[in-house]
Amino acid sequence: MNKESAAALKGKKKQILENWMANQLKDAALRDDLMSVSELQQQSEEFLSTLLKAFASPNAEDTDSAGYESIHDILSEISITRARQGFSPRETSAYILSLKEVLSQVLEDRFKDETAILYREIISMNKIMDSLSLVTMETYIKGREEVILRQTNEMSEISTPVIRVWEGILALPIIGTLDSARTQVVMEALLEEIVATGSRIAILDISGVPTVDSLVAQHLIKTVSAARLMGAECIISGIRAEIAQTIVHLGIDLTNIYTKATLASALKMSFSMLSIQVSKAAQNGPVGSKQNFGF
């Protein structure tokens, strides 16, 4: 891009901004629900002045050069914010691409009679803008991935609560597939809680685990062994018929681990291990009357 076109673009900055804003506003991809017009105007103005400054730098066509560093920063900022705000990929790339159209128009007006120069300048401007829109997309996707990663982490944390069901008895309902990373989280949460509450029995309920393969079983056995090393006994409950079938077919040895079909029977077993007796209270009034429950 030569000095003349850079100067021409700089001179028409106000007009470019106006047309660009108009372009953006009339585009169907405009999301005025996510971003106000004045905010967009401010963002666009800041971006445009930085871009025009970069155009005037000595090697304007090389978008990796130092002149474009601040442009990259601004663009990354814009697309990451947009990714988080929930803009679609089309809406995000439309921002940069709508500017291209306006810039071409200005160049066309400037070099109306010199077709060869016009052609060369348009090509070089296109090259720059395309590479900038690639940067936009890349950072946009990076931003989305960050969101996904955060949600995955949140999910694995939410889905592993350790519940204290009785004095000295913990329950850990596991929901979703157990992979190595989750087993680590589950194991650590359980062991920490065992220390904190001084519980002697932990019930691992796997009714929410869709399938048990040899890897999942190995993870479960690891958790049980670790708890046992600390002096707590584990009971695995919620073993469905199909899971029992899979475990036997795979030849997984669970004979050293207490297993129960339901959480209720696991709780019953823990009571007898801790020598706790739970019995019905003697009824003095009609069944279901309020004073029976001590409220």
Partner: protein
């Protein structure tokens, strides 16, 4: 040379490890403990490792060894107060210490040893075996 004290409490021996165990110290402990068991005819050994934050496979093996040796000499071994990180490490190393009994703290460990001794008089079954 540094030594880990072994306390006698009735029919039991109590060992509290409060320093980081290096290999030589662990070997000395193993030696001292087994000699002590034979001298006092102890019925149970309680090892408190709540202050130990680092273990390796050697340390795991020493614990297993102490348990097996005590068992031959008719004394039960209880390891108490293992840290979560230590437990995870041992499991990852494949050392599940199958011959060792465990408890959460010294109090529960003592209780466990007492039950063990009571049981030895009546039957040779494990603590929870009657419930399965």
């Amino acid at each position: 040379m540094e030594r880990i004290p072994i306390l006698k409490m009735g029919p039991f021996l109590l060992v509290t490890i409060q320093v980081d165990l290096y290999d030589r110290l662990a070997l000395t402990l193993e030696n001292d403990l087994i000699n002590m068991v034979s001298k006092t005819e102890a019925k149970g050994v309680l090892i408190d490792i709540s202050a130990v934050s680092i273990v390796d496979s050697f340390m795991g093996r020493i614990l297993g060894n102490i348990a097996s040796m005590s068992k031959i000499m008719d004394a039960a071994t209880v390891v108490v107060g293992m840290q979560p990180a230590v437990a995870i490490t041992l499991v990852e190393l494949g050392l599940t210490l199958s011959g060792v009994h465990t408890a959460l703290d010294v109090e529960q460990g003592m209780e466990l040893l007492r039950t063990k001794i009571g049981q030895l008089d009546t039957d040779e079954e494990g603590l929870y075996d009657s419930y399965i």
